[in-house]
């Protein structure tokens, strides 16, 4: 376990800012204690300093996970957000998409969101903007990238994709093994 290098921090924050924008600073400066990012097995964990201290007792190969996993660095040093980060993305998300109850299931199986399943969308969402997907009951279901801007969404036919799927909570079942 080690702190992130500058490069890594940069890549990760760039990725995060696609979804939560300047709210990143709320993650770093928290009123309830110091929190930090740590790299372990290519995965980035977001932990409070207090827990971090305790976790140092555990040897590297025996440590499985600590705090919340945000995502992982690929072999090509890109950062990929995991669904486990949703708890921190959802409250701070700048752009949101709500899906209709009928389309929930489809999204949770890993499909893109179609116009027909689109319930609501934040105004002024730009194309390729990172968005957090909610159910109509305001339960965060995952996140993705807007395929069309809000304006375009109004016009397109019902079967066209409006949000590209990136991660959804169905992964807790579908790919439990690869979460960490």
């Amino acid at each position: 376990m080690r702190p992130l290098t500058d490069d890594e921090t940069k890549t990760m924050f760039e990725k995060l800012s696609k979804y939560i924008g300047e709210n990143i600073k709320l993650l770093v400066d928290r009123p309830d204690g110091t929190y930090c990012f740590r790299l372990h097995n290519d995965r980035v964990y977001y932990i409070s300093e207090k827990i971090l201290k305790l976790a140092t007792n555990i040897s590297r190969e025996k440590l499985v996970s600590v705090g919340t996993c945000f995502g992982k660095f690929t072999k090509t040093q890109k950062f990929r957000l995991h669904i486990t980060a949703l708890d921190y993305l959802a409250p701070y998300a700048k752009f949101k998409v709500w899906v209709k109850p009928g389309a929930e299931q489809s999204f949770l199986y890993g499909n893109h969101v179609l116009k027909s399943g689109l319930g609501r969308i934040t105004e002024n969402t730009a194309q390729y903007q990172g968005v957090v997907v909610y159910s109509m009951a305001d339960v965060p279901l995952g996140f993705g990238v807007a395929a069309k801007s809000t304006q375009e969404c109004r016009r397109v036919d019902p079967m066209s994709i409006v949000v590209f799927h990136q991660a959804d909570i169905g992964e807790y079942i579908r790919s439990e093994d690869t979460l960490t």
């Binding site: 007792n57 555990i58 705090g67 669904i83 949770l108 009951a137 339960v139 909570i169």
Partner: protein
């Protein structure tokens, strides 16, 4: 509750399931207001509704209702079992309605059914809806109460409310049983029992009835009959019947037994039948027979055939139970709060969607978790800001429950030995939004070395899984003695390392909760008892107000009295998985040092006491007189052959003796010859003669060795019987004591304690006379040895208050010692624990127990015993 899942039970019309559910509460209420029953009828709002409907109904219906009402007139216990039985046949068979549920009995229900019958279609559904609404309002009102303030349960005003439905049923049944016993109508009882335990055998009620009519006594099948049975295909129905009859006889042995048949015969047949009918292996059935009385055992086995209800736990980090319940109901899930003891649990009756894949589940609003696994966490009750260790956390249900109780503060270290299973922990923790955990993959036994100083530790030890047979029926046949021993050993190691990881000085904590999903005493009470001896811990109340008390004595084992504070949960009495929960508080961080010898003997004891599990041991204690007779009988049986065997051995020895004498004569003559002709003979001849003599001597020696061997064998034979007598005595004494306790008040524990103390020294000796027989030293002549046995025994009986120095009684207790092992020390006892040698080479005693000379560690330099040092001073 489990029955609700049974597809054969489906109610096709009439009030819906939920309406029926509510009946439970109503009948409960009716029970408390039983006195008013004869008075003018009180009308609830629903009853009024129904009354309105009734007025529309035909006269015939009215009459029927009235007859029902008259039936209700029974005010005593009998009313409950009389009525359903009456009702069952006409109603059931004609309408194909739902069955024998005793809870839903009162006339209102019947009327309602009739009403629904009559109106059909629309009206029917209306009624249904109404009921549903009522139900929800009532229910969540209740839930609100419980979440707002648990203290004011006075409003509910009934202890019935606090019980689980299954417990209520159990209690009712128990009452019934008592009532039945007075009437000595066991058969009826049986029937009732069956009604409770499973509907699948409902059709067999008639056969039972027939059995009563015939007044046919249950006869034990003879050996040839049984053999025949082995050849024929197995008739499960008849076996089931036989089990029931057998249980009946066993629970009323004095009056119902067949002349000349022994309890052991009945028991062995019962065991065999249970093994076939429920497909267990003999080992497990025997173990279970030790734990449960026979009739309860049947309930237990029956409960293991039924799945426990699916329960979920609300994740209060993300949602509230009420919101979750609403969301799930909207998805077509039929659910109810789990019980008054849990604010977060919900029971799922049925569901149109997979409960483990709803969006709510994926969003982490709840966790699929057995009711029983909520208990250890509730017992642990972790506080905010503490550091907690979960030693075997997979799949994370308990870990996440702890996190939600701690509101994501403090630290939880979730450990598990299996890396594969940890993946589910990671998934669940992230899904439920728990952020305060460190997940690691150590063997729990290494733990205090990794980190210690935790405020609380939860040890959900790996176990044989005998409590969750309904989940994993493979346990029925796959377990044997070795498995139990193995897991018990692992559990002992784990519990010690769990205790060592605790910080006794913690301001808020220092608690360990030990739990298993096994019901074996070896894996539960025994392990806790072991921990109590080994570490500075004490048992504290678990804070769970239901469940059965742990055993303080089990067969020949006696545990610390505080084990009463532990809790056992059974599938048949609590409708949750079999479970054991113990809460320990560590009161000092120092690890008590134990003498080196003790650890070895501790490990030996289980094996020693386990192996001789005689089949005659019956869980339902027979009359003491009869027991005495039984023990005596068995003992006489076993001793019958002893004289002959002894005679044979002695004969052999005499033969050998004779041969040796002959040989000696030969040797003498040879020697004489040799000495006479020594001068004349050539050296070669001399050599051959000498060799001859030598050979004869070696033969003599062989004979002698054989003799010694024989003597030892004889000795062991006698010793075996003596030991058997001792164990029988001990067991009989325990039986007697139990009888005494049963007859006197149960809570006269002080006298009980004294009694066991007074029994202490004797038991010690009894135990000591066992074992180490194997490595008995053959310094003394074996024949002497035999006499010595008797001598020692008589000596002991003359002076029963031998002082063992200040050794803890439990240390020597059960320590088997050979009677002719040499004795040492000032106290003239055999060696045990650490010994010290006197450095005076002429010392008459040489070896001393540490305790007797007031030592705890080995002193430096020379050490002289008290006597020698006095003598030296004089010099």
């Amino acid at each position: 509750m489990g029955r609700k899942l049974d597809p054969t039970n489906k109610v096709k019309r009439g009030p819906g399931r939920k309406a029926r559910k509510q009946k439970g509460a109503e009948t409960e209420l009716a029970k408390f207001l039983a006195d008013e029953e004869t008075g003018p009828k009180r009308l609830s709002s629903r009853a009024r509704k129904r009354a309105a409907k009734r007025s529309q109904a035909s006269n015939q219906h009215k009459e029927e209702a009235e007859t029902e009402q008259t039936k209700k007139g029974f005010t005593d216990e009998n009313s409950e079992w009389l009525k359903p039985a009456k009702r069952k046949r006409p109603v059931d068979e004609s309408e194909g309605e739902d069955d024998s549920d005793t809870e839903w009995e009162e006339e209102e229900d019947l009327e309602e059914e009739e009403g629904a019958e009559m109106e059909q279609g629309d009206g029917d559904e209306d009624e249904d809806d109404d009921d549903d609404d009522d139900e929800m309002v009532d229910d969540y009102g209740a839930m609100e109460d419980s979440s707002e303030g648990e203290e004011d349960d006075g409003e509910a005003g009934s202890d019935g409310e606090e019980l689980l439905p299954i417990e209520r049923a159990a209690r009712k049944q128990k009452k019934l049983q008592e009532a039945m016993e007075q009437d000595s109508e066991e058969e009826e009882d049986e029937e009732e029992e069956e009604e409770e335990s499973g509907d699948e055998h409902a059709d067999e009620d008639d056969t039972v009835q027939a059995n009563i009519d015939e007044v046919d006594r249950f006869k034990l099948p003879g050996a040839e009959e049984r053999e025949k049975e082995g050849l024929l295909p197995i008739d499960l129905k008849s076996i089931y019947q036989r089990i029931k009859d057998n249980v009946d006889v066993l629970s009323n042995f004095a009056s119902k037994r067949e002349e000349g048949k022994e309890r052991a015969e009945y028991l062995s047949l019962l065991k065999k039948d249970l093994c076939t009918y429920y497909s267990y292996n003999t080992f497990l059935i025997e173990k279970l027979l030790d734990i449960f009385p026979v009739s309860e055992l049947i309930d237990f086995l029956e409960a293991n055939e039924i799945q426990r209800p699916v329960t979920i736990r609300t994740n209060t980090l993300k949602t509230r139970r009420r919101d979750l319940a609403q969301a799930l109901i909207n998805r077509g899930v039929n659910l109810d709060p789990l019980g008054k003891w849990s604010k977060v649990g919900l029971v799922i009756f049925d569901s149109s969607v997979p409960i483990g894949a709803t969006p709510e589940y994926l969003a982490g609003h709840y966790m699929l978790q057995g009711a029983s696994s909520l208990l250890p966490v509730m017992a642990l009750s972790p506080q905010e800001g503490e550091s907690v260790l979960d030693m075997s956390s997979a799949p994370g249900g308990k870990t996440t429950y702890m996190a939600q109780l701690m509101r994501n503060t403090g630290v939880i270290v979730a450990n598990d030995a299996s890396a594969d299973r940890l993946k589910s922990v990671v998934g669940n923790i992230h899904r439920l939004g728990v952020t305060n955990t460190v997940i690691c993959n150590y063997d729990g036994r290494q733990f205090p070395k990794v980190m210690g100083g935790f405020d609380r530790v939860l040890l959900d030890a790996p176990c044989s899984g005998t409590g969750v047979i309904s989940k994993d029926p493979a346990v029925k046949t796959s377990k044997d003695e070795a498995d139990i021993q193995r897991s018990a050993h692992l559990q002992k190691e784990l519990i010690l390392s769990a205790i060592d990881s605790l910080n006794a000085e913690s301001a808020t904590g220092g608690y360990l909760v030990y739990c298993t999903c096994s019901i074996m005493v070896e894996e539960n009470e025994w392990v806790v008892d072991y921990a109590l001896k080994k570490r500075n811990v004490k048992l504290v109340p678990t804070g769970l107000d239901f469940g059965k008390e742990g055993f303080t004595r089990f067969k020949e084992r006696r545990f610390h009295p505080s084990l009463r504070l532990t809790r056992r949960f059974y599938p048949h009495s609590h409708n949750m998985d079999g479970f054991f929960v113990a809460k320990l508080k560590k009161f000092s961080n120092t690890v008590p040092t134990t003498p080196a010898g003790q650890t070895a003997e501790e490990d030996k004891v289980p094996a020693e006491t386990e192996t001789p599990a005689p089949s005659k041991e019956s869980p339902t204690k027979p009359e003491s007189k009869m027991a005495a007779g039984m023990y005596l009988e068995h003992y006489l049986d076993s001793i019958e052959n002893l004289p002959f065997e002894l005679q044979r051995n002695f004969q052999l020895m005499r033969d050998l003796d004779q041969r040796t004498e002959d040989l000696k004569g030969q040797i003498d003559s040879l020697a004489r010859e040799y000495t006479a002709n020594a001068r004349t003979l050539s050296s070669e001849q001399k050599l051959s003669l000498l060799r001859q003599i030598q050979q004869s001597y070696s033969k003599c020696k062989e004979f002698g060795d054989d003799k010694v061997q024989l003597a030892m064998q004889t000795y062991e034979m006698v010793d075996k019987h003596i030991r058997r007598l001792d164990t029988d005595l001990a067991r009989f004494e325990a039986d007697l004591k139990e009888k005494q306790i049963e007859s006197t008040d149960y809570d006269s524990t002080s006298s009980k304690g004294k009694k066991s103390e007074s029994r202490g020294p004797k038991e010690k000796k009894v135990a000591r006379t066992r074992s180490k027989v194997k490595n008995s030293d053959d310094d003394g002549s074996p024949k002497n040895g035999q006499k010595k046995v008797k001598l020692i025994h008589t000596g002991e009986f003359n002076a029963p208050s031998v002082n063992f120095g200040n050794v803890h009684p439990s240390d020597v207790l059960d320590m088997p010692v050979d009677p002719n092992e040499p004795t040492y020390c000032l106290c003239h006892q055999v060696s045990y624990g650490e010994m010290i040698g006197c450095d005076n080479t002429d010392c008459s005693i040489e070896w001393f127990h540490f305790a007797c000379v007031g030592l705890t560690t080995k002193p430096r330099g020379k050490w002289y015993c008290p006597r020698c040092s006095q003598e030296r001073k004089k010099k």
